[in-house]
């Protein structure tokens, strides 16, 4: 029996690996997800016949409640709410690891015959720590994305000292329980401190840095599962956990590179000016006049060109303008204009956020280009149309050494013959700095809510 279970775990792990492998192309991705789900089903079924599983009612009750909530969440969530959804699901994964580790601790305490040693005790502490940090950290990330917790950068005096103290307490407490095992109060204290640490670690991170935070928490949820695997001496948990851990780390690094910032810089709360979100700071000198256009003029400009690159940003997601953008693309293409999309790595609130929204609006994925694949094409493009993006097209990143975003890779929108920027106002982006692109001679500002403004533009184009 033991061998059958072990072999099934192995098969299940292979399904996970093939599942992720098939995610490397949009054509096979859906099948890949199915593979992973089959792997999960196998693992669950075979665990139920494990000799240690003797009663089923609690499992069944838990499974029914959990599945129902899971189905409801997955069906109800709008595509624009996807970053929150991923954050929340992450949290549940971490929470499960925390609870399993605590459960194992009580099992050892209540049944002294259950064999355990130092390595198990260490694994339990690690599992509690990572699970708890993932749990509360993800809940805070969810709250920030949902607007329940402030999306601004939160800084308070002694921030780093407090975090360091908490980490020290966890390590010291963990070491003590490993030497003198079975101390219930201390384990609960470690869990509580870890929960607090999760809150404090994510709270300072600003809204637009959420792609980094979400990726990192994704990685933690994998590592939490792997830590649980060490507690249970289960290879499958370790393999699956390591795969997810690696995935999260890679995405985290891609996001950091997309902003030319170190992980540490993002985690401690980023730029001093970040997240203020108000009007441009006093004392910054506008470099010329702002030219604004209305829908009718803009339609005539669009009507006369042959290539357009659209640059979507978080503003498109907020205005839920992806369908309006799709309509615009259809009209432009009917007029024989070539339309493509340029996606900055950190556009939106999670990796690939813009791609999902545009996919929802039925935009073909082969029109979406990553920054490095399209950045050289702006030179021979008639219009760069920026919808709700700001810092990722600020040319100051290239030449202004005093700018906080200096060195950040940007989309070369300013190299296009004409730059059209759709924005609600002149307010600054996340970095809290003026965007000199607004004042360029080849820039036209098209003010208004993205959805309304683009619909209006589309109608004008249709009437031409």
């Amino acid at each position: 029996m033991k061998t059958i279970i072990e072999i099934t775990y192995l098969v299940s792990s292979v399904f996970f690996i093939f599942g992720i492998k098939k995610l490397s192309s949009p054509k096979t991705a859906r099948q890949g997800n199915m593979f992973a789900a089959i792997g999960m089903a196998l693992a669950i079924i075979v665990t139920l016949i494990d000799q240690d599983v003797l009663t089923y009612e609690w499992i069944l009750i838990g499974a029914i409640i959990g599945s129902t909530i899971g189905v409801i969440m997955a069906v109800k969530i709008p595509m624009t709410g996807m970053p929150q959804m991923v954050g929340l699901l992450n949290g549940f994964g971490g929470g499960a690891s925390l609870l399993v580790a605590l459960s194992e601790f009580y099992k050892i305490m209540n049944f002294p015959a259950w064999n355990h040693d130092v390595k198990t005790d260490i694994s339990i502490i690690v599992s509690i720590l990572i699970g708890a940090v993932t749990f509360t950290g993800s809940l805070i990330a969810f709250g920030k994305l949902q607007g329940l917790v402030t999306g601004r950068v939160v800084k308070y005096p002694g921030q780093h000292a407090i975090n360091a103290l908490l980490v020290f307490l966890i390590v010291a407490g963990g070491a003590y329980t490993v030497i003198y095992p079975g101390n219930e109060l201390l384990i609960l204290a470690i869990a509580a401190i870890s929960l607090l640490l999760g809150v404090l670690l994510v709270l300072p991170i600003g809204g637009a840095d959420m792609p980094v935070a979400i990726s990192l928490l994704n990685s933690y949820s994998g590592l939490a599962a792997a830590a649980t695997g060490f507690v249970l001496e289960n290879n499958e948990l370790i393999i699956a956990g390591a795969l997810v851990g690696a995935s999260g780390i890679i995405l985290t690094l891609i996001m950091c590179r997309g902003m030319n910032r170190s992980l540490l810089n993002v985690l401690v709360g980023g730029w001093a000016s970040a997240g203020s979100g108000g009007p441009a700071p006093e004392g910054s000198t506008p470099k010329g006049d702002v030219k604004s256009v209305d829908a009718e003029e803009l339609a005539m400009i669009f009507d006369s060109v042959s290539t357009v690159i659209i640059i979507p940003g978080y503003g498109m997601a907020v205005a839920q303008a992806q369908h309006a953008v799709r309509d615009l693309v259809n009209v432009l293409e009917k007029k024989g204009i070539k339309v493509r999309f340029a996606i900055h790595p950190v556009a939106g609130r999670m990796p690939g956020h813009m791609n999902v929204l545009l996919a929802e609006a039925n935009v073909s994925y082969d029109k979406l280009f990553a920054m490095e694949d399209i950045n050289d094409d702006f030179n021979n493009t008639d219009i760069a149309f920026i919808v709700g993006a700001n810092d990722v097209v600020n040319p100051a990143a290239r030449h202004d050494q005093s700018s906080p975003i200096f060195g950040m890779p940007i989309l070369n929108a300013d190299y296009a013959k004409t730059v059209v920027i759709n924005k609600r106002s002149m307010n600054v982006g996340y970095a809290g700095i003026e965007n000199e692109l607004f004042f360029y001679p080849n820039t036209l500002m098209y003010f208004g809510d993205a959805k309304d403004a683009i619909s209006k533009l589309t109608n004008e184009l249709k009437n031409l």
């Binding site: 949009p26 240690d52 595509m79 507690v231 948990l237 890679i250 073909s364 990553a370």
Partner: protein, 94 residues
């Protein structure tokens, strides 16, 4: 667990991380969101531990913690795979 079997677990962990790095670097940016939610669902593999905890013969605090863990992990697994499928359904080429 003895030293050798613990070391085997570490082996598996380290090698799996390398496999993960190889696989994930080949996923295009367009699929990064489904990758996150899909891998997220995979991290719900903790369900295995949750089932083992909730299925103990004697009813103790371990069972209660195990049952809540089953709920959490099941939300993670079911919600994660379903929402990923919902997203991937939309990725079409025209």
């Amino acid at each position: 667990m003895d030293g050798v079997s613990f070391l085997m677990l570490v082996y598996v962990f380290v090698l799996a991380i390398f496999v993960g790095f190889e696989l994930i670097t080949k996923v295009p940016p367009t699929l990064h969101t489904p990758l996150m939610s899909g891998s997220n669902a995979i991290s719900g593999i903790t369900i295995v531990g949750a089932i083992l905890s909730a299925g103990l013969e004697e009813f103790t605090i371990s069972t209660i913690l195990g049952m809540v863990a089953v709920i959490f992990a099941m939300i993670n697994v079911v919600g994660g795979f379903l929402v990923t499928d919902r997203m991937l359904k939309m990725f079409k080429k025209r």
